[in-house]
């Protein structure tokens, strides 16, 4: 009896937190999405979302998020793989993770300096005769900086998955006639898929709603769901539309969570048979 009531006691802070910072905001967002700019109840925001402007915006958001995730993955997987093979792997991992602790805004400003008209890269381009190039406010710089920001988050789960892989399984695969590449395809990749999925989750979802990097690095060139929300709230003052976009964003995130969710099979005990 007492046990039960103490348990309930422990749950109070948790419940309060969820209620205040998860349920209430979502409810508020949904509530605001049902009012137009004049404060009248309406579904017109939802209708507006399905207009070509917002669909295009959504598509472009997904496209950028996809590119950012793809490049992060292409860089992170091999990096994580080689990290697990190094001698002081935890140290190397730490070195890669440390930049992610530095404030995002600071790093973004640093890139403005690096990519800027008078930054070191342009100075280098000028020196080898290419001449100064517009780097800031391009798709390239936007994706480059985003990938840079997300790489540590992608590496971490993949590193853990590869590190937990029983090396005897790789021996077994080679022993049974598989080349290194086939071994990767048939054994290593499937058994580290959960790490890849987690990595995709923690990259793709935040990438969908990026807005600060978008603003600072891409200027007005790239418009994503994140910048659109910011615009609606702060510039147009159309809270209804802003909330509607947010509702869809939450919905998309939820769907992605479902797709990249972990299946139990081989889950926790990746590769360890005993």
């Amino acid at each position: 009896m007492q046990n039960k009531s103490t348990k309930a006691l422990y749950l109070i802070p948790y419940g309060a937190w969820i209620l205040l910072f998860v349920v209430a905001p979502i409810a508020l967002v949904v509530y605001y999405s049902l009012f137009d700019i004049h404060g009248d109840f309406t579904f017109s925001n939802y209708k507006a979302f399905f207009s070509s402007v917002y669909l295009e915006l959504t598509l472009s958001s997904f496209w950028y998020a996809f590119l950012i995730t793809l490049f992060s993955l292409l860089i992170s997987y091999p990096t994580a793989y080689f990290l697990t093979k190094t001698k002081h792997k935890q140290l190397w991992l730490l070195l890669i993770i440390i930049p992610s602790w530095i404030n995002l805004l600071l790093k973004t400003y640093a890139f403005i300096g690096i990519f800027g008209q008078y930054g070191p890269i342009n100075a280098f381009f000028a020196a080898i005769g290419i001449g100064s190039t517009q780097l800031l406010f391009t798709d390239f710089s936007f994706i480059f900086v985003s990938v840079y920001i997300f790489i540590p988050f992608m590496i971490l789960p993949i590193f853990n998955a590869i590190d937990r892989l029983n090396p005897a399984l790789i021996d077994a695969s080679r022993d049974l006639g598989a080349s290194p590449w086939t071994t990767f395809r048939r054994v290593i990749l499937p058994l580290t898929m959960n790490g890849v999925k987690s990595g995709i989750q923690v990259t793709f979802i935040p990438a969908l709603s990026l807005f600060m990097i978008t603003r600072l690095i891409a200027g007005n060139k790239v418009i994503t769901l994140g910048t659109a929300i910011e615009q609606q709230f702060l510039v147009t003052q159309n809270w209804g539309m802003g909330s509607t976009i947010a509702v869809f964003l939450i919905l998309f995130m939820f769907i992605i969570m479902l797709f990249t969710g972990q299946k139990e099979k081989g889950g926790a005990s990746v590769g360890k048979t005993k």
């Binding site: 021996d171 077994a172 049974l176 598989a178 086939t182 054994v187 499937p190 099979k265 048979t273 005993k274």
Partner: protein
């Protein structure tokens, strides 16, 4: 006789980090179609030898040959060798069928044949009907058998088995020993088997390599090794034995436990200090008057097939006796044995010298 050995180790050493020597200058040959066992205590380098043959590691020095060709640097997937791993190393993301089929799929064998061969292999290890089970749903012993099936299904030239029966209960273990031996003879493949268990080694092998601390101490048929252990380590490791210090008086006469005994060993120095081995089952209980040794029974254990008696002579040497006859604890009894039961071991004799000495006087009683 002059058949090309399938595996040849020529002065092979394996070191890790340049200082820990795991194998030191090992040389041996293995003939095609025989059942070999590596026997030795934990950490002596058995798995290391298998990993060298499979190609997971390269020797630090020396040469490994397969059918007369150097294979030091050939990657494992290009070797005609399959391994049953000590920790099974089954693929957790594949079910039993796909685990066993893994090697066949790599070779792009047609589905119908894959199915036939996998089912045959599973039948061999008594796992028919388990095709669709996940590995996590199998018991330790069942996993071990899946690992055996996964290796044999590929029909390799050599099968390496790293303690493949260690997780099985006695009955299944004995059954699998028979079946593995039978399979090996039917397929005519070379099996290299690793075990801690001397009885298993004696029962299954054509030839045993007894290892200790990274070296092969003695190699030979089970009978040779059991009957003529080269030193105390082998005698102790292979079966239970009574080992006492003694002195060689002259050829065919040895002194131990305060008496002189007739024996079959010869070719040693006069008055050379030696060790004598007598197996517990070679000691026979008689009356004190007729016994060559007179001992007092200290303890007696019933071991199923026989009684195991621990007895002490007047000099305080312990004599282990296996007998179907019961004795009374505290009684004085006599122990009788034949001259052939006495095995004389020189101290620190090399295997070559040992073999040469045996050949010089050995009566061909158990020669093939």
């Amino acid at each position: 006789m002059t058949q090309q050995p399938i595996i040849r180790f020529d002065n092979v050493s394996k070191r890790y980090n340049d200082d820990t020597t795991v194998l030191s200058n090992i040389s041996f040959e293995m003939e095609r179609g025989k059942f070999y066992t590596l026997l030795g205590p934990s950490g002596c380098g058995k798995t290391t030898i298998l990993r060298l043959i499979a190609g997971f590691i390269e020797p630090s020095s020396g040469e490994i040959q397969f059918n007369g060709k150097k294979i030091n640097e050939v990657p494992p997937n290009e070797r005609q060798v399959n391994t049953v791993f000590q920790d099974y190393a089954l693929f957790p993301h594949l079910n039993v069928f796909e685990n066993v089929a893994f090697g066949l799929r790599i070779k792009k064998i047609k589905q119908a044949e894959v199915k036939r061969r996998v089912e045959e292999a599973l039948r061999f290890v008594n796992l028919q009907g388990y095709e669709n089970r996940e590995i996590s749903e199998m018991s330790g012993g069942q996993r071990q058998r899946v690992a055996i099936a996964r290796a044999i299904v590929n029909d390799p030239e050599i099968i390496l088995l790293d303690e493949p029966l260690s997780a099985l209960d006695l009955k299944l273990r004995t059954e699998m020993q028979y079946e593995l031996r039978e399979l090996q003879q039917r397929l005519g493949k070379t099996f290299i088997f690793v075990t801690h268990d001397q009885e298993e080694a004696l029962a299954m092998s054509d030839e045993i390599f007894v290892m200790n601390a990274g070296e092969i101490v003695q190699s030979g048929t089970p009978i040779d090794i059991y009957d003529e252990p080269i030193n105390r380590f082998v005698a102790d490791f292979i079966g239970e034995s009574n080992i006492v210090d003694g002195v060689m008086i002259r050829d065919h006469l040895v002194r131990f436990a305060g008496k002189e005994f007739e024996c079959v060993d010869a070719g040693l120095d006069t008055n050379e200090k030696i060790e004598v081995v007598i197996r517990p089952e070679d000691l026979e209980i008689t009356s004190p008057e007729r016994g060559k040794l007179i001992v007092t029974v200290d303890t007696q254990l019933f071991r199923g097939v026989h009684y195991e008696l621990s007895t002490y002579d007047r000099d305080g040497n312990e004599w282990l006796v296996h007998s179907t006859r019961k004795a009374q604890v505290g009684d004085e009894i006599g122990l009788d044995f034949d001259p052939e039961a006495i095995h004389v071991m020189r101290l620190n004799e090399s295997e070559e010298d040992f073999d040469r000495r045996l050949e010089s006087y050995e009566v061909p009683d158990h020669a093939e």
